[in-house]
Symmetry: C2
Subunit: 250 residues, 2 copies
């Protein structure tokens, strides 16, 4: 179980190619750090730590539970699923990570990854060596604040799973969540792909796959959305918002 995480196929480091800096500025991570008021010199320090890795193809593991924790990574393209397997062999999906989002943060208090991360489609990553970034964080309050914020945001997202919400509420909250996160990165908020299979959505929402199917069909009958296989279009945001409100608020 001590295989190296983030295998380095096709990696290109920033040091090799100045153009990469501009390209990597699409990373949510760097952007957020700038929003936090980090100056350009600090941002330069940060970018030196970056490696671009990938592509990973659907089904490929990015890291596995128990792998030594060496780096966090920002998703540049594609979708990453994180999950754990309990002692009975059942998978529990922890979350989906869209372009611009960071994986590996929940390993921050240990020296091993506490979950699996697997690509759902073709995934490109920006890899940040964690030892280096944490040293840097001691010098840069803005960076540290950003790390803590990302951490607490992940924790807060668990509200979707806690609470005894109905299948409709869970599904509405999930779809709106994906929509908003995509919109925050410049993608269309109303038309997008569900890159994960129904079974993963169901597992994540703690529903049966059949229930996911039925809820989506009913939402479509009621004119809330249009869905065909993994293609999705949100038609009535207000209605979905109303459903999801108690889940997402407070």
């Amino acid at each position: 179980m001590s295989r190296a995480a983030f295998p380095r196929q096709d990696q290109r480091t920033l040091a090799d190619d100045g153009n990469e800096l501009r390209f990597c500025s699409t990373c949510a991570f760097s952007q957020a750090c700038m929003d936090e008021g980090m100056d350009k010199a600090s941002l330069g320090d940060l970018h030196v730590l970056v490696e671009h890795v990938g592509p990973f193809h659907a089904g490929e593991y990015i890291f596995r539970e128990g792998d030594p924790f060496e780096a966090i990574a920002a998703v540049r393209a594609g979708t990453v699923k994180t999950s754990v397997v309990d002692r009975d062999g059942h998978e529990h999906v922890l979350g989906f990570h869209l372009p611009g989002e960071v994986i590996g943060l929940n390993a921050i208090d240990g020296d091993r990854y506490p979950c699996d991360a697997v690509a759902l489609d073709t995934v490109m990553l920006c890899r940040f060596s964690f030892p280096k970034i944490s040293v840097l964080a001691t010098r840069l309050p803005g960076l540290q604040r950003q790390l803590f914020r990302l951490l607490s945001r992940d924790i807060g997202r668990a509200a979707l799973l806690a609470g005894d919400w109905s299948a409709d509420q869970r599904m509405a909250a999930f779809l709106l969540g994906v929509s908003r996160r995509l919109a925050a990165r410049g993608f269309s908020p109303n038309r997008f792909q569900l890159t994960m299979p129904r079974t993963d959505i169901a597992n994540y929402l703690r529903l049966a796959p059949e229930t996911v199917s039925r809820v989506l069909r009913r939402f479509q009958e009621e004119g809330l959305l249009r869905v065909e296989r993994r293609e999705l279009e949100l038609l009535d945001r207000d209605a979905l918002d109303a459903l999801a409100a108690p889940v997402l608020r407070d």
Copy 2:
């Protein structure tokens, strides 16, 4: 909403009375710090920060959501309920805090308490000024470690609410949890009081109050326990353990 938290009625500071030090060493907090290997001098520093406050009577608020975060506190006697009220006015019980346990920790990343804390019976507290304790923590790694450990423990306890456990499993896990926590402070693990009303238990476990009643009655019929009003006796720990196992493990 800017009323002062932890009103100081009946408070006696350590500085006023040397005897209080011995008494307060019953606080879980200090004990845990000693377990962490803190030396006596450091423990002395810690005890100087302590104020004994109380009593609070059943129904009295210890702090309210939005109050400025000034202190954490260890419960010396009684039970404290923490909860939030959503925008629809519905209460959500976050947890119950038994003697030896710490309240206020979840305010640690903000400057306001994020929840209400209310006494369920007659409550006595040890109050620790947070600004002072956090300064102290920078000097004492053992103290800092203890703070983080308490934090993560609280987060982990949410496992009881997540997951789609049956009413029986939730109830068994809840009862065993209370039993173990009481036992850890020297109380009888098999005979104790449920100091909270059924509605609060139900709310916490996300069940209907009627379901709580029925499950307890059935547990009694099956010989797992004896319950009369709020008096409880666990009779078949093994059976309860078996029920609670999947909830508490992993």
